[in-house]
Symmetry: C2
Subunit: 334 residues, 2 copies
Amino acid sequence: MENKRVNIKDVARLAKVSITTVSRVINKLPSVTKRNIARVEAAVAELKYRPNISAQRLASGSNNAVGLVMPGYPGIFHSFFAIEIIRGVGHACEVFKQDMVFHISDGVTPLNSSYMGGIIFADIIENRAQLEDSLSRHIPCLVINNVVQDVDVSYIAINNIKGGDIAAKYLLSFGHKRIATVTGNLKTQAGFDRFDGFMKAMDEAGIEIPKEYVYRGDYSRRSARQAAEFLFSMKERPTAIFAQSDDMAMEIIAVAFEMGIRVPEDVSIIGFDDSPLAMYGPIGLTTVRQPIFEMAEKAVGILHEMINGTRDTRLRLAMDPELIVRESCAVPSS
Amino acid sequence: MENKRVNIKDVARLAKVSITTVSRVINKLPSVTKRNIARVEAAVAELKYRPNISAQRLASGSNNAVGLVMPGYPGIFHSFFAIEIIRGVGHACEVFKQDMVFHISDGVTPLNSSYMGGIIFADIIENRAQLEDSLSRHIPCLVINNVVQDVDVSYIAINNIKGGDIAAKYLLSFGHKRIATVTGNLKTQAGFDRFDGFMKAMDEAGIEIPKEYVYRGDYSRRSARQAAEFLFSMKERPTAIFAQSDDMAMEIIAVAFEMGIRVPEDVSIIGFDDSPLAMYGPIGLTTVRQPIFEMAEKAVGILHEMINGTRDTRLRLAMDPELIVRESCAVPSS
DNA sequence: CTGAAAGCGCTAACAA
DNA sequence: TTGTTAGCGCTTTCAG
């Protein structure tokens, strides 16, 4: 039934060379005559031979699959963030001709780390144990999307403080004074930092944000809807709102439409993410773009260097977000 | 530098048993005394030993990583569909303790199939060659989300014809007569089938759909917006619209709001997908749910059976979609 | 119930 | 440039 897999020996036999030569051709080592290369390639083609990767790894000791470990909390897979990471890592792996072993982590199941040449941890939340375990095995690890202080590991993060700052300054540039914000989950580093950067910039500008203008959301559309209904029904409505995710920003705009409030004439809205959603809808959403895809791509490159020993110092990198101007912000009319 | 990995021998030495016994404990084979199990486990813990998967695979001949190959066309990663597949496969792999090797296919790069015990192809579009190649190597393959006729391979698909039928019948149940549809990409099997099922049901019910009531979209929000603007500005407006994706349905609703057309009073809208987006927005979207996650999960189970020879007959399964009633449909007022 | 020994398919010295 | 040979770390008969 299971028709025996063709192996390197079969190829060697057919090509009338040694298995070493076949191995050399497969690995594109120099020092093989053209004639032999041709013979081997012909045999490979005829037999449809594919090297057994497990054997290659075992024999060579090398291990070129990059692991991507993502937290599995509900909702993450609907987030733009998660998708961009998968895309970025996947794409870079394609380029580096490495396999990507994808692991949705429950924080408990141990990783088959022997399998992976290196591991990228996206967002350390509950999988700190896995990270430390892998580290203790001397497997190259890289954390993305999180600034990690308490563990000696390289990371690439997004400068969310700067992101909050960018949003704040942009709103201020129009002369807004009554500025509200709908936060993401403040327990996450990203959520806190965006908020922090935003508030600091306001402070520096001498703009005071009253408590009622700070609505603690959780990135969900539901929370944004509640926030919008609350803010829009205030006696003294804000003239600008910084929503800490595009999803929330879009929901706020939707509520505004429903309530007959015009964007950006009556209220300016700025989001965060530059999700593709931001381009559609009734009005283009001005937002702060996070280079998630680029971060993920870069991570693979760095990991690559770590794996082949080109890099051994700890990397701490925070990538800067960028303002994307569309139509949802303007000077206040009131 | 690279501190030597601990291997099964080290564990055996420390536990004072043979490596065979260690292997047995690792693989949870019976026939090991409790005492020895304990000794081995202690040694494993102390040494932080992890079996080398490449060696395990090589020695056992087995190969338990499931490959997931997805087309890489632009936009796919923003689709609800793709995410659900990744989640479903990822989750099931976790359960079966298999690794998931994720491959974003460009249709050209050959797969490292020797790596995988079996492969799940999501949506055969441009990667037919890879599928056939893998098949010719006798690697268990399973196609999901596509009915495949011309290749002898098992598949699990969604019954989109039925889905179209469900949408049609639901709209008809309210007594709608002027019914329009905004199609997805009709070149895709899913798009065509939904349209087909819908039209047939209309036909059977004796309802004629004029040409202008069929707007050929492409799943994009942009196309939906155009469709909505077109349909809503007709002299004889449809009283109900079947949008062949939730994304498009949401956009149509947004346009309706902008134009002051009420949903569902003036126009009923039914979507397709049951994307999480459908739950938010100004009004709950009635839609047809596709069991994508379940399909992906099931695929892993089936593949598992194929891999260990429990199943060898070709499987052709189409899973039924299901109506999800929310608030966007009602009896026509005009 | 346990252990010795023979590979799994491949790479990497080392010789020739 | 090529081939011989010894493992890589583990599983799996097969004896004991």
